[in-house]
């Protein structure tokens, strides 16, 4: 999921203090799980703004805030409330914020959160970055552990000289990604595979921004074993 963090209120307030009325938009997916854009957070922000003498014309938690068309349909019943608001505050990730920008061309839209990374929730509201969306997955070569993301240097061939007692010099609390990969491949009896393989330099062209992706709908072909 996309991990988000609430902005310091003062920072948000600096952006919106000139407006009098607001519509608040959350998201039921990642932001809700992160505790940054669900019902409780919308309620909290609404009360804070009202406490400062501002008006909140409406609030809504979109099902999937990054789904532009779905969100557009969901927001139809809120047309009047949104029209009345001078400004929209989005409590989700940067993608969700830009959905609102796309839907409301003439209205200022401000983010309430900072978008941090794509990660896994490893404990309740405790998140670790696991994938860099680099465009060319190498998990098949590294025992399912991503060194592009979990090694600060994104190394492809083994630990660097900064590894100390199995840990990372850059973040000592972190286990060295390459020691983990090595140990896992050893457990899976695949060390020879790991040793033999020299990876080609990463194809960063696959991560050239901004990326678009469109999967053509083809007639489902039956996969038959040869």
């Amino acid at each position: 999921m996309i991990i988000t963090k609430k902005k310091d209120f003062q920072e948000l307030y600096e952006n919106i203090k000139g407006y009098r009325s607001f519509f608040l938009l959350g998201c039921s997916e990642c932001a809700t799980l992160c505790g940054t854009g669900g019902e409780p957070e919308l309620k909290e922000l609404k009360e804070t703004l009202e406490g400062l003498g501002k008006e909140v014309t409406g609030t809504f938690v979109a099902k999937t805030g990054c789904q532009v068309l779905g969100t557009k349909v969901e927001l139809k019943p809120f047309k009047e409330a949104i029209d009345r608001a001078e400004c929209i505050i989005v409590l989700s990730c940067g993608a969700g914020t830009q959905t609102a920008v796309e839907l409301y061309e003439d209205k200022p839209v401000y983010p309430a959160n900072d978008s941090l990374f794509l990660g896994n929730m490893t404990r309740f509201q405790f998140f670790d970055e696991r994938c860099s969306l680099c465009g060319k997955c190498i998990l098949d070569k590294t025992g399912g552990i991503c060194p592009i993301t979990t090694c600060p240097k994104g190394l492809l061939h083994g630990p660097c000289g900064g590894m100390k007692d199995g840990h990372c010099e850059v973040s000592p609390e972190l286990q060295c990604a390459w020691v983990r990969i090595y140990e896992r491949m050893k457990r899976l009896n695949k060390l020879d595979e790991l040793r033999e393989f020299i990876m080609e330099p990463k194809e960063w062209s696959k991560a050239q921004k901004p990326r678009s992706h469109y999967e053509k709908k083809e007639k489902a072909k039956k996969v038959t074993a040869k």
């Binding site: 240097k153 083994g158 850059v170 020299i198």
Partner: protein, 293 residues
């Protein structure tokens, strides 16, 4: 005889390390180069070591050449992408540099520009392969070069890495990628170095043992606690301690000299690399005490 010819013909080599200045005043650097001239076979010029911004390695190498000392260009992958690296490496060759040490490079978080964007477009193994490609007349995209390089390709290895196995895997990959010589992270335990060399001797590469002078027991403890891949045995720490504060440095110089002598006499490695870190002027003393001057 060049550094490469000496190593490849089996002569015991001595290298030392000189760091470029932070700024444009090269007086001290030139002084160190002059001091080491004739006493070492080549000088490594560091590349923004510890991620601290300094004058670049290539300029340092050219200054070395101007003073009649053969340089080893240290190249890290932290600050330049594959275009920048190849371009600088071609330039280095044209300017007369023939030895290159390929490294990944310390992370920017270790240095003095912590908000810099670390690059690591390629890394040590990829860089070795890249230089091997330039030697074969092709750049990383496979395009033919107009005039190829002929670098003697070096890399680094950490014999005291813990755990060691993944490090050895990387060592093997560096060899397969094209590394011909290795300079090691600082080693202090000669018995463990011999163990490492038993493994390394399976491969047709030259190994130069890295040595860092211990200035005090405090420094030894600091290295043990803070520097990955360095392990100073307790008996050396005790030796420094019992020497007392005034004689600690002298004892440290003796330890390095003793190790050099042992590595040379027992043919443990193919050479030694003395990293004096600010005490370049002591290198001749060490070599003299080791009986190699």
């Amino acid at each position: 005889m060049t550094f490469r010819e000496k190593l490849e013909s089996g002569k015991f080599v001595i290298t030392a390390e000189v760091g470029p200045p932070k700024g444009t005043d090269i007086t001290e650097m030139v002084h160190h180069i002059e001091l080491l001239k004739g006493k070492v076979d080549a000088i490594n010029i560091t590349d923004n070591q510890s991620a601290v911004m300094r004058m670049n390695s290539l300029s340092g190498c050219v200054i070395c050449l101007q003073h009649g000392v053969e340089p080893i260009l240290q190249v890290t992958c932290r600050d330049r992408n594959r275009i920048g690296l190849q371009s600088d490496i071609l330039g280095a060759y044209v300017l007369g540099v023939r030895n290159i040490l390929c490294m990944t490079g310390d992370h920017v978080s270790a240095g003095d520009h912590k908000d810099a964007k670390p690059v690591y477009d390629i890394e040590s193994v990829g860089l070795i392969k890249t230089v091997q490609g330039l030697n074969n007349g092709k750049d990383l995209s496979g395009t033919d070069l107009k005039g190829k390089t002929d670098f003697y390709i070096g890399a680094v290895v950490t014999p005291e890495a813990n755990p060691l196995e993944p490090q050895l895997m990387k060592f093997e990959k560096k060899i397969r990628a094209g590394a011909k010589f290795f300079q090691t992270q600082a080693v202090y335990d000669m018995e463990r170095l011999k163990e490492f060399m038993k493994f390394a001797r399976q491969y047709p590469v030259k190994i130069i043992a890295g040595l860092v002078v211990l200035k005090s027991a405090g420094m030894a403890n600091f290295l043990n606690t803070n520097v990955p891949g360095i392990r100073v045995p307790q008996e050396l720490i005790d030796e420094l301690k019992s020497a007392g504060k005034e004689k600690a440095l002298d004892t440290g110089l003796n330890i390095t000299a003793r190790h050099i002598r042992q590595i040379y006499e027992e043919k443990i490695c193919d050479g030694v690399h003395v990293m004096a870190i600010g005490m370049e002027d002591k290198v001749p003393v060490i070599l003299e005490r080791a009986g190699l001057l």
